[in-house]
Each structure stands twice: as structure tokens, then as C-alpha cells.
Symmetry: C2
Subunit: 325 residues, 2 copies
Amino acid sequence: MDALVDAALSGQKRAIARLMTIVENGGPEAREVIARLYPHTGQAHVIGITGPPGSGKSTLVNQMAGEYRRRGMTVGVIAVDPSSPFSGGALLGDRVRMRSLGGDPGVFVRSMASRGSLGGLARSTTNMVRVLDACGFQRILLETVGAGQSEVEIARAAHTTIVTQVPGMGDDIQMLKAGILEIADLFVVNKADLEGADRTVGFLKASLDLQSTEGEGATEAAHWRPPVIKTVATTGAGVSLAIDEIERHVAYWQHSDRVRAERVRVAAELEAILRDDLLQAALAHVGEQYHRLVDRLLAREVDPYSAAREITRQIIPDESSTANS
Amino acid sequence: MDALVDAALSGQKRAIARLMTIVENGGPEAREVIARLYPHTGQAHVIGITGPPGSGKSTLVNQMAGEYRRRGMTVGVIAVDPSSPFSGGALLGDRVRMRSLGGDPGVFVRSMASRGSLGGLARSTTNMVRVLDACGFQRILLETVGAGQSEVEIARAAHTTIVTQVPGMGDDIQMLKAGILEIADLFVVNKADLEGADRTVGFLKASLDLQSTEGEGATEAAHWRPPVIKTVATTGAGVSLAIDEIERHVAYWQHSDRVRAERVRVAAELEAILRDDLLQAALAHVGEQYHRLVDRLLAREVDPYSAAREITRQIIPDESSTANS
């Protein structure tokens, strides 16, 4: 393990890839890897890219990685790809991407399938970002499909969040419903050579205007107004401008939001791990009693909250038992 | 509280509505309501309806509720509606729905906004279903927007899951990626008067054929093959047939899947509550030490897993500390 971690920290791609696999799989070995890498983390800026299927995110991410390389920065790419038994999408994606970027030691590309629970996926993603961060990649592009709740959870790992749109899609209230105005630091209207690009840009700007006059969004919006950029990822048009705006947000984030955001992020991760660890320790502690409780629940002799309290009180007798549901 | 619960159990709609609000808001009062209602639950069959925006789910659900009423069964409807600061969708939805169904004592309709965390939403939904179950509604229609991970989580509250599609949408691999083949007990191709309905039906059936020949899905698929039904919700065409197929699944579920599925469901809910309760009790127990741990995490003097272990070990000293990440 020591040799593997040292090799990864010195930039050897095969070692990095092995660590990525270990943390993706989770378990005690993943914890050991993270414990070793943790002192080396905190340098990278993580850029989340999300948006509907078909908005050209993968191509855009490839172009952005290329532009960062031209600017002399190292780039990690993690694409979270929902897969089904049919697609095998993650592996295929890696191969396609590797053709254009793989020979360059300053780029590391990894796709991961979004199997398993949402909480588990968010945890794995955070740890995979951490591996690339520790191994010295300066910008990490984290691509997720869709813009639903699951992507919002994953996007929490990002310092800058880009939401992609395409002309004609989402020029209505449905898009606003997904809460993407709240998470976007930058909008990219990709495929901007298609008809209606300016209308989509106008709609997004009007929505941002509307939001900034409302109470809820005002505190954040007063400081950073998300720019709306047009790109044509297939030709690279607009990508350099997008990177300029991202870097403007990097500077903004480092000087304003960083300390508060990092504290929230670190505390949230600690609490997520604690939830799992405490549950596992509690179940081990009560042993067979757990199965008897489930039996009593099925017989409706006890309700779920009272059952939980029976276990919690045994472990932490002085708890006040007024937890929120 | 006793009077309120008694009034709700006797079918008074205002009392039911108040209990729904209490459990939606969560907290100690919600726990008390659930504790009182729990012995009365376990009678209703819960039918989840999910699918992309614009597939006519609300109209379909209204028609299904009407058909159940014609068959002499009582129906609860819960629509989980993602809302934004702009839409106020949930309340508007209730009013529109109430016009067609509200005068009937055998129907109860409630919309809820999908604010807050995913875990919290799934919990609230489970408890709102429970209120209607305890109050004697025989079928509960649980409508969610979209077919992403968040909807899959909410759909766990359902015994029968219907996935809606419309002609032309999703006739490709993107749809399969969302994992809906795995969750659907019944497919409804709504707006079947539009061109391409038969192609969509054919695509779904071919996908189901493909799935049933693969190893992963084979065990379930051997017992229940999801039927694919065409409906035109605006006219009611096909709705009666859809209800026939749902009832066929109700019978299947009661005779095959019920015991195992209920045990999994009950255990999952108990564990979710335990996670929250144990975390809250642990944080109360360690007090200020928690903030010092976050400080040390920010300074990278400790990694998140070791920090979690410090807390867990204080509370449950004999834990083996080999929890999965």
C-alpha cells in the first residue's frame, strides 16, 4: 500500500488508476487510502458539469480539458454515468475519451457507473476526486448526467458548478423546477449554432433576474451572478471564454466562499460517515435483538420510531429522544 | 391529539388533512402521530406512478382514481411535485384536482412539494402514505415526477410501480439508462393516440425480452412480466384495462412477494431512522468535541474516517471499526 500510494503521488497513472478503483469499491481499504492521501488534498479546484442528456456534456468536458492543458494546467476528469445492464456505458466512455486525451501525462480520465445507492455514489465520487486532488491535478472536471436531485447531491463535491443547456430544451418552467438556478455558478448553452440559442440565453438571464429580486436567492446572488455562455463544443467555439469565466469564479470562490463552504462540506461528510459507522456499530451491539424488533414491527406491535428509540437508548442512555424525523 | 387521530380514523377529511400536514413537517409530533396510527396500517395497496414530465401522469392518476371509485374502492392520491420558488405548483395542483374528485368522501388528494433533502422527502412520503392507509383508503396512488434516482427512492414506498411513457419519447438507450425497466411492474404508454405509440410499445416489449434473457433480472422476471398498456388519459381510453393489470399485480404481490418485500421495507425504514437518531444522540453526547474535530479536519490533521472513528469508539467502545465506506 505504501509503494502504491507513493507511486500515485509521484504521478504514475497506473497507480492512480488502482487507487481510484479501491476508493470506488469502498470498504476498509478505501478508508486506508483516504487516510493516507488526506494530508495531500485541498489543492485542486473541482468543477461540476451537469445538464440534460444530449446537451453535449462529454464533448464539452473534453474541450475544456484540452483548453486547460493549453493553459499549462493539469486536469482530472471524472464522468459519473448512469448505466444499465445493457449499456456498459462507463467503459466505452473511457475508451472514447482516452483516444483524444489519454497520451498526455497531465490528464487523467475516469468514468464511473452510477450503480448502488445515491449516498454511496456521492461518497465514492468525493473520494475519487480526493485521489486526483492528492495526486496533483489542479482542475478536476466532474461530469454528471441529468439535473435531478441525485446530480445535485453529487454536485456538492464541486466548488464551481456548470449547468449545460441546449437551444429549445428547457425554455420553460419545467427546467426551473429542477432547482438548477440555485446550483449553477455558470450556464453554458451548448450547440449554440442551433436555432433558438439566443432565446435560451435570454430565458436563462431573465430567470436569473427574477431570482435575484426574490428574497431567498438574494444573499448569494448579490455576490456572484452566474454568467451565461454560448458554446459549440464540437468545434470548440466559446470554450476558452467559458474557461475564463470558470477561472473568474475560482478567484471569487477562493476569496469569498471558501472557508464557509469547506466547513459545511467537511462537516457534512463527517456526519454521513458517522451515520453509517454508528448504525453498523449499534447493529453489532444489539445483535439478535434487531431481528426481533423487525418481527415486532411486522406484527405492528411497535412503530418504527419507538423501535429506533429502543436501540438508541441502549447505546446512548442520556439521549433526549427528541430527534427530528 | 387523541381526538384528532380518532376523527381521522373515522374518515373526517379535515382531520386527515391535519395529520398529513403534521407528518409532512416531521419532528416529534409526526413521530407521535405515526406511533398512534401504526397499528392501523398495512391494509392499503400503494401504487407508484412515475415517468417523465409531460407524459400526462396527473390526468392518468385522476382517471385511475375515478375508475377505482366506480369499482367501489376508496382511493388516496399523493402527488410529489418538485417545486421552485416560482411555481407554487403543489397548491395549484391540489385545487385543480379537487375540482374533479374533491366532493367524494371515498377520495383524498394531497400534493406535496419536493423541497428538502431526498432522505427527508422519502420519509415524509412514507408517513403520508401511512396516514391514508390507517384511515382506510384501500388504494393509494403515489405520483412522482421524473424517473431519476430520487423517484426510485420514493417509489420504494410503492407495492406496484407504474412507469408512464409517451410515443416518441425515450425510444432509445437513454431511457434504459435510468433503470426504469428494473422498477416497473407495469408500463403505460399514455397519449397513445399520438403517432408512434405502437413503436414505443414494441420498444418496451423488446427491452423487456432483452432483460429477461440476462442473468440479473431473470429471477424476478420469471415470475412477473410487466405488461405494456396503451392509454389516452384525456378520454379515459385504456384506463380500465390498466386497472385490471394493476389488480392482477396486487394479487401476484400478495401471494408471492409480500412477506419478503415487507421485511426489507420495514428494516430499511428502521435503519434510516436509526441513522438519524444515533447521529443526533452522538453529537449531543460529544458536544464541543465535534467542532474541534471539524477544525482538525479543515487543518487536515485528521482524515474523515479516523475522525468518525474517534466519535464512534467513545459511544460504542467495542465496535470493530471495519465499517464499509
